[in-house]
Amino acid sequence: MQVAKIYAKALYDLTKKARGEKQEKIFNNFVNLLKSKGHYSLMPLIFKHLKLLVEKDKLDNIDLIVAKENDFEKYFKKADNFKKHFYPKKEIKKVIDSSIVGGFIIKTKELMVDKSYKRSLINLYNNIIK
C-alpha cells in the first residue's frame, strides 16, 4: 500500500510539469520500470492514489469567501495580491457564505486571512463582556 502511494506520488510530480509527448514518454518509462521491478500488479492501486492526488490538488485553491455576490469583485484585488505573494500558481475560487455578514476571508490549506465582519463583531463582543 505504501509502495503504491510512493509510486503514485513520484509519477504525479513528474507528469504535473510535463505536457504532450514528454508526458507519454514518462508514462511509458514508468510502466517499464514497474515491469522490471516486478511491481506491475500494483498498477490499479497506483492509479487509485494518483486519482486522489489529482483531486486533492484541484481542491487546493485559494478560496475567497464573501458574504454576497457583489463583494467578490470588490475584494478580488486583495485576494490577487495574496496569491502573487504566497501562491502564484494557484487559482482563486469564489465562495459565498452569508454567515460572515460582510468583509472577506482568504483561505488556503495552510494560511488564512480573516477580515470578515463576523470575526470583528465576535471580537468586539468578547472585549465588551470581559
Binding site: 454567515s99 490549506k109 495552510e110 494560511l111 488564512m112 486571512v113 477580515k115 463576523k118 470583528s120
Partner: protein
C-alpha cells in the same frame, strides 16, 4: 438603559482596530477515536495548542450564544499530516474544518482563587460555583528544577497515621508512592493525610491538591463531600478527570495539578499533591499512543512510558531559600494486580520515587487497617524528615513489628513455643493493635508520641489484645483532659525533653492506677 454599558460599548468601538494577519491553518481530513488528522499546519510545534474553527457556517448570534471553543494538542508531526488529540467534544469536529495554530504550548490558568474548587483537567471549574478570572497561565510541560535550586528534605509532612509517621516518615519535598491492590485503603491514606493538615498551624499548612484520574465520579463526589465536612476544602483543590472523560484529559490531569502546585511553590508555599492514580494515567497514555500509531512496547505501553511519570514526579521538589523555600510533596498512587510489585508500571514508579508505602490485601482482610506492610515499605528520606519527638519513641517499633510478623508466620506451624517467643508475639500483637487507626481519624503528632511511647514502654502489656484500641483511646482522652500541658509542650518544642518525658511517665502511672479495670493480663507474660 445603563449608561455605563453604553459608554463602554462606545469606547470599545472607537478603540477597536482588528489586526490583519495571515494565520497558519490546516484542514481536518480524518477524525476518529478522539484523534484527528490535519493537513497543513506546516509550522506547528510539538505539544502546541491547536484551535478548531467551529464558527464556520454559523451565524453571529449562534456563536455568541454558544461561544465554546474546541482545543487540540498536536502530538504527532508526520510527513503529510499532523495528528491532533482533541481536548473536547469530538462529535463537533468535522472533516474539512479549519484548524488554527495558536503558537503556544498547552497552558492552563493558575490562581490562588482555585483553592476550595473542583476543576477539570484544563483547570476549568466544574463545581458550579462560577468561573475564575485567572491573570496568569503556565505551560503544563515544564522542566523540573535543577540540583542547585533544591535543598535537602528536612521538614516533616505529618500524615496523622501512626504507622506512617513512626516507621515510614515523609518529608516536605519528597515523593512517596502508595502502592497496593484494589480496595486496600490507598485513597484513604491520601485523604487522611489531607485531613491531618488541619492540625498544622495555618502559616505552615500545605496547600493540598487531589488529582483524581480515571476514577468513578461518585467516588470523587464522596471525597469532595468528606473534605468539605471536615473543613479541608478550605486549603484543597480537587482536579477531576473521571473515567468517562477522554483519555487525553486523564493523561493531562496530573500535569495540570503539578503546574498549579508549582505556582504556589514558587511563592514559598508548601504543597501536597496526590495523584490517584498513575496506573490509570499510564493506561490512558497507552490508549492515546496506540491511536496515534506510535510503536507499542512491553505490555503495549509506548516506549516513553517511564518518561511520562519521571518528568511528572521530578517536578516535586524542595526549593532553596533563594527561591523562597517552597516545596511540593507528591503522593502518587499505583494499583497493583494481585500484589505484583514487580510488574512494569509499579517497578517504573518505585524506581522514581523516594520510597513506597505498600498496602497488603491479606493484612487488610485480617482487619489490620491501615494495611501497611512495614517490612517492604520504606522512606528513603527517613528520620531526616521526622519530628525529634517521634524519632525518640518510634526507634524500635519497626524492628519489633518485623520480628513479630516473622514469628506470627512461624506460629502457624509450631504448637509449643518457648516463653521468649511467646512474649515477643504478645508484645507484637499489641503493637499491631496500636498501629490500627480508623479512616478519617488522623492523629496529631503529639498524640502519636504519647500513644507510641506508652506502647513501646509496656503500658498496654497488661491489656487484652482486643481491648488495646479502647485503652489507647482512654489514655489519650485522659492526657488531653488532665495533662494537656504535656501535649502542648510536645507540639511546641517538637521534642520529648527529659522533663516532658518524666511528666508523661507520671501521667501514665496515674492512668494505670485510675483505670485498673482495663489491665487484666499479667504483664510478665508479655514483657
Amino acid at each position: 438603559m445603563n449608561n455605563y454599558i453604553i459608554e463602554k460599548i462606545k469606547k470599545e468601538i472607537e478603540n477597536f482596530s482588528p489586526k490583519t494577519e495571515a494565520e497558519k491553518t490546516g484542514v481536518v481530513v480524518k477524525v476518529a477515536d478522539g484523534i484527528c488528522e490535519v493537513e497543513g499546519l506546516s509550522d506547528v510545534m510539538m505539544s502546541e495548542m491547536v484551535l478548531f474553527d467551529n464558527k464556520q457556517g454559523r451565524e453571529v448570534k449562534e456563536i455568541i450564544e454558544d461561544p465554546s471553543t474546541i482545543v487540540g494538542l498536536a502530538l504527532n508531526l508526520e510527513e503529510d499530516v499532523v495528528k491532533v488529540v482533541i481536548l473536547g467534544d469530538t462529535s463537533k469536529i468535522k472533516e474539512g474544518m479549519t484548524a488554527k495554530s495558536t503558537g503556544k504550548v498547552l497552558s492552563v490558568p493558575v490562581s490562588s482563587m482555585y483553592i476550595g474548587r473542583v476543576l477539570d483537567a484544563l483547570a476549568n471549574p466544574i463545581d458550579g460555583l462560577g468561573s475564575i478570572e485567572a491573570k496568569q497561565t503556565r505551560e503544563i510541560e515544564k522542566k523540573a528544577y535543577g540540583v542547585m535550586d533544591r535543598s535537602p528534605v528536612n521538614t516533616p509532612l505529618h500524615t496523622g497515621i501512626k504507622a506512617i509517621d513512626s516507621m515510614i516518615p515523609i518529608g516536605r519535598g519528597q515523593r512517596e508512592l502508595i502502592i497496593g491492590d484494589r480496595y486496600t485503603g490507598k485513597t484513604t491514606i491520601a485523604i487522611d493525610t489531607i485531613l491531618n493538615q488541619k492540625n498544622e498551624p495555618e502559616d505552615k499548612r500545605p496547600i493540598c491538591i487531589y488529582v483524581a484520574i480515571g476514577q468513578k465520579e461518585s467516588k470523587t463526589a464522596r471525597i469532595v463531600s468528606d473534605l468539605k465536612e471536615n473543613g479541608a476544602m478550605d486549603y484543597t483543590i480537587v482536579i477531576s478527570a473521571p473515567a468517562s472523560s477522554p483519555a487525553a484529559y486523564q493523561f493531562l490531569a496530573p500535569y495540570t495539578g503539578v503546574t498549579i502546585a508549582e505556582y504556589f511553590m514558587e511563592k514559598g508555599k508548601d504543597v501536597l499533591i496526590i495523584y490517584d492514580d498513575l496506573s490509570k494515567q499510564a493506561v490512558a497514555y497507552r490508549q492515546m499512543s496506540l491511536l496515534l500509531r506510535r510503536p507499542p512496547g512491553r505490555e503495549a505501553y509506548p516506549g516513553d512510558i517511564f518518561y511520562l511519570h519521571s518528568r511528572l514526579l521530578e517536578r516535586s521538589a524542595k526549593l532553596n531559600e533563594k527561591l523562597k523555600g517552597g516545596s511540593i510533596t507528591a503522593l502518587p498512587i499505583i494499583e497493583t494486580q494481585e500484589g505484583d510489585v514487580s510488574a512494569y508500571i509499579p517497578t517504573n514508579v518505585i524506581s522514581i520515587t523516594d520510597g513506597q508505602i505498600f498496602l497488603n490485601a491479606d493484612l487488610f482482610n485480617k482487619g489490620q487497617k491501615p494495611a501497611i506492610d512495614a517490612g517492604i515499605s520504606v522512606s528513603r528520606v527517613g528520620s531526616a524528615a521526622q519530628t525529634k519527638a517521634i524519632k525518640k519513641v518510634a526507634g524500635k517499633i519497626k524492628l519489633q513489628l518485623a520480628q513479630f510478623r516473622e514469628l506470627e508466620a512461624f506460629m502457624q506451624f509450631a504448637q509449643d513455643l518457648d516463653p521468649e517467643t511467646k512474649k515477643s508475639i504478645e508484645k507484637g500483637r499489641r503493637l499491631a493493635e496500636i498501629l490500627k487507626q480508623k479512616n478519617h481519624s488522623p492523629l496529631g503528632f503529639e498524640k502519636q508520641v504519647v500513644s507510641i511511647y506508652a506502647a513501646v514502654n509496656g503500658l498496654f502489656d497488661g491489656v487484652e489484645v482486643s481491648k488495646v484500641v479502647e485503652a489507647e483511646k482512654k489514655l489519650l482522652d485522659f492526657v488531653q483532659t488532665q495533662h494537656k500541658d504535656i501535649l502542648d509542650t510536645i507540639r511546641k518544642e517538637k521534642d520529648l525533653s527529659e522533663s516532658t518525658e518524666q511528666k508523661l511517665q507520671d501521667a501514665i502511672k496515674l492512668f494505670e492506677e485510675s483505670h485498673k479495670d482495663i489491665f487484666t493480663v499479667n504483664k510478665k507474660d508479655v514483657a
